[in-house]
């Protein structure tokens, strides 16, 4: 029967169970174990399914996959553990941590002579005409040491550094914000990679992947009006990314220094929304979408005994080359040479050399002009020009506005917590001839003892 009382009871039970520290500890330990398993076992997103099938055999692989062990960090149970920790954190923060925050600013309770004598550090001083000692003197001395102090009749209370107790609250707020931000990013963000030539483009929707796996093929994306909100909510924006130009800058030695790509982002009506030349570590940022220069490569189209291939061209000792190994000791080096030949369209010629392992000798075999084939011994090598592919990475991180403040608060909380709360009490005894002073510190007791010592020696000096 789900009446009001039962609902209330269930709510109470939920709060009790989910605010418990025991639950937090259990979750920490389970998360530690599962994360460890995920670290040691090879994971599918990293090594690929083929590698896993090779290692375990198909049967075992399928069993492991059904248990989620091939991709631990995206499995439902790992996510469930994290979610439970998140709920635990939220409930515990509001029930236990935040309500105690005000203690940071509270005055300690008044203590009498007998209680002060039981404090970890305490001292008895004589009240006489010689040392001119009174509670006011103690108060002003403590105030100079940046304590908050007040006197109540025959007793004094002082406290310093109570604000350090806020550290835990601030850190918990930070972790909460971080978790929410991560959830937002995971559920509504997307990312992808593209290798594109000059004067070509790609649709984000074709290459991007989001967690919710909804690709936008609609004409208009009503959830994200182009000029307003950068929140895609699982639908990838219908932008076209166009590569206008891409090039590479080299050092004098010929080694690559930096890769550049001139990009435009176009909407459905082919209007240019943004344009920027990016390079590594300098991405294009537009409406929450970031496009990075990730890598860059020059590729030669060659045919080897009628088999076509697109082979990456490396820069090696100032030359642009392709290495083709024929056996363990011998290989062929294809060197890209720019010629001034009027007859060829592209001005590129491929020179072939045979090279030997552990030897600098290279023997010139022949050359291939662009769009031609040459027979060299048993090999037929054709060359059809080069093209350049720029490697771009794009992602959207909608939760960023929560993630960064979250991280900031975590670090702040950590720094705030560095410090102890120190309390000092003093009381004049019943006979009015002694003052009892005592104190306590929640950490760094050694240092507090030294400070207390200094205070007492200051007080007994006739000032």
């Amino acid at each position: 029967m789900l009446n009001k009382k039962n609902i209330h009871q269930i709510k109470q039970l939920f709060i009790e169970e989910f605010s418990s520290v025991k639950l937090a500890i259990t979750l920490f330990i389970f998360l530690a174990i599962t994360t460890l398993i995920g670290t040691i076992l090879p994971e599918e997103p990293m090594v690929g399914s083929l590698e896993l099938i090779k290692r375990y055999g198909r049967q075992k692989y399928l069993i492991l996959k059904s248990l989620g062990l091939t991709d631990v960090f995206h499995s439902w149970w790992y996510l469930a553990l994290l979610t439970t920790l998140g709920i635990n954190l939220i409930v515990a923060s509001f029930k236990r941590v935040f309500p105690r925050a005000y203690i940071a600013f509270q005055w300690p309770m008044e203590l009498r002579e007998e209680s002060i004598k039981k404090l970890p550090i305490n001292c008895e001083l004589d009240l006489n005409d010689k040392n001119n000692l009174n509670l006011n003197k103690i108060e002003s001395s403590l105030r100079k040491k940046r304590y908050k102090a007040k006197i109540n009749n025959k007793s004094l209370i002082a406290v310093k550094g109570g604000w350090h107790r806020l550290g835990a609250s601030v850190t918990h707020v930070g972790i909460l914000t971080l978790l929410i931000g991560c959830a937002v990013s995971t559920l509504t963000g997307f990312n992808g990679m593209a290798q594109i030539s000059e004067n070509e483009g790609f649709y984000l929707a074709d290459l991007g992947q989001s967690t919710t796996q909804i690709k936008s093929t609609e004409e208009r994306n009503w959830l994200a009006p182009i000029s307003k909100m950068p929140i895609w909510l699982g639908k990838i924006p219908p932008y076209l990314v166009n590569v206008n130009k891409t090039w590479r800058e080299d050092y004098e030695t010929g080694q690559p220094k930096q890769w550049y790509t001139d990009l435009s982002i176009l909407d459905q009506n082919k209007n240019v929304l943004a344009r920027k030349t990016i390079h590594v570590n300098d991405p294009l940022e537009f409406m929450g979408l970031d496009i990075y220069q990730s890598n860059w490569g020059k590729f030669a189209q060659i045919s080897f005994n009628s088999e076509n291939a697109s082979v990456p061209v490396e820069t090696f000792m100032g030359e642009e080359v392709i290495f083709l190994p024929l056996s363990d000791d011998i290989g062929i080096k294809l060197k890209l040479v720019q010629t001034q030949d009027q007859n060829t369209n592209q001005g590129d010629v491929l020179e072939l050399y045979s090279i030997f392992k552990d030897s600098p000798i290279q023997k010139f075999l022949g050359k291939v002009n662009v769009n031609q084939k040459t027979q060299i011994g048993p090999m037929n090598i054709g060359y059809f020009g080069t093209n350049i592919l720029t490697g771009l990475q794009f992602k959207s991180n909608p939760g960023g506005f929560l993630i960064y403040p979250g991280l900031f608060f975590i670090i702040c909380g950590v720094f705030i917590a560095f410090g102890s709360k120190k309390q000092i009490w003093a009381s004049i005894n019943a006979e009015n001839n002694k003052i009892i002073i005592g104190g306590n510190s929640d950490r760094a007791k050694g240092k507090f003892f030294e400070e207390f010592e200094k205070l007492i020696s200051e007080l007994i000096q006739n000032k």
């Binding site: 520290v21 920490f28 530690a32 670290t39 990293m46």
Partner: protein
């Protein structure tokens, strides 16, 4: 282009190692006979000499590199050793820890030997891969190395606690139930775990180390995420080093939350600290040694 390692650097590194060796023996002898306080103090003095020497060696290396010397496994081990000595001497000075100096210096010797026996390719000064050429290196790595050093000392302290409660003070952990009747029918109960004073001291030391080390670990992980975002465009990629650091973080978070409960057994806490330091080892060196793969394969052991 190979930059030569300065002779001075090698000299000071060797002085540092020898000083640790001497201090180990001084600590060990003084531990066996606790009345020989002078030996303990001399041991600490040698450890301090070692710290100075190591600092000079690092300065020389930094001058040769023209950058903060933290580019390969060798340098990270040297800075790790530096952090251990610094942390231990600090704790010894502030909190008067003086029981397990021999464990610390013994471990330091192993670090020195390991660093010395690394293959040349891991030790030589070589230009950095583009992804590592960043000021982020100085922000991300040193706090982590410091936290590893603190967790290590905390683990030694935890081990000392277990030895003390299991073997030395035969009383172990006695749980006493004190019941005091103050008025007719009204009883006050108190639940007290009694341990010897030394055991209590070890427990406090472990707690201190974790309280200092845990925030440093947190900051290190967060800085790592920010650097990864700057370099690779993603804050977190479930890379083995990242996840292993997370495991360590979970374990020590469990330790701190356990300690909120005043009734918890000190032995449980000490055991968690020991499990934690195993995770620290896996995070620092294990990921590369056991070839978990991933993006952090800079200090890979061949």
């Amino acid at each position: 282009m190979e930059i030569k390692i300065a002779q001075e650097e090698i000299l000071f590194f060797n002085i540092s190692g020898i000083a640790v060796f001497i201090s180990f023996w001084l600590y060990a002898v003084s531990w066996m006979n606790l009345k020989l306080n002078i030996l303990k103090k001399t041991g600490s003095a040698f450890l301090f000499l070692s710290l100075l020497s190591l600092t000079i060696a690092l300065v020389f290396r930094g001058i040769a590199l023209k950058f903060f010397p933290l580019t390969n496994l060798y340098e990270s081990l040297v800075i790790f050793a530096w952090a251990i000595i610094a942390a231990y001497l600090f704790l010894e000075w502030k909190f008067k820890i003086d029981y397990f100096g021999w464990m610390v210096s013994g471990f330091l010797l192993m670090v020195f030997l390991y660093a010395t026996w690394l293959p040349e390719s891991q030790k030589q000064i070589a230009p950095l891969v583009p992804a590592l050429q960043s000021y982020w290196r100085v922000i991300h790595v040193p706090p982590l190395l410091m936290s590893y050093a603190l967790f290590l000392i905390g683990a030694f302290s935890g081990a000392a606690y277990l030895i003390e409660t299991n073997f030395i003070s035969k009383s172990g952990e006695k749980k006493k139930n004190i019941t005091k009747e103050i008025k007719e029918g009204i009883k006050i109960n108190s639940y007290v775990t009694e341990v010897s004073e030394r055991a209590h001291f070890f427990d406090e030391t472990t707690y201190r180390c974790v309280t200092f080390g845990f925030p440093l670990l947190t900051i290190g992980i967060i800085n790592g995420a920010l650097w990864a975002n700057h370099a690779w465009g993603a804050l977190w990629q479930w890379d083995p080093k990242e996840t292993m650091a997370l495991v360590t973080w979970f374990i020590y978070a469990a330790y701190l939350h356990f300690r909120l409960n005043t009734q918890v057994s000190g032995k449980v806490l000490a055991s968690i600290a020991l499990v934690g330091v195993v995770m620290v080892y896996l995070t620092y060196l294990g990921v590369n040694q056991f070839n978990f793969g991933g993006l952090h394969t800079y200090g890979k052991i061949e």
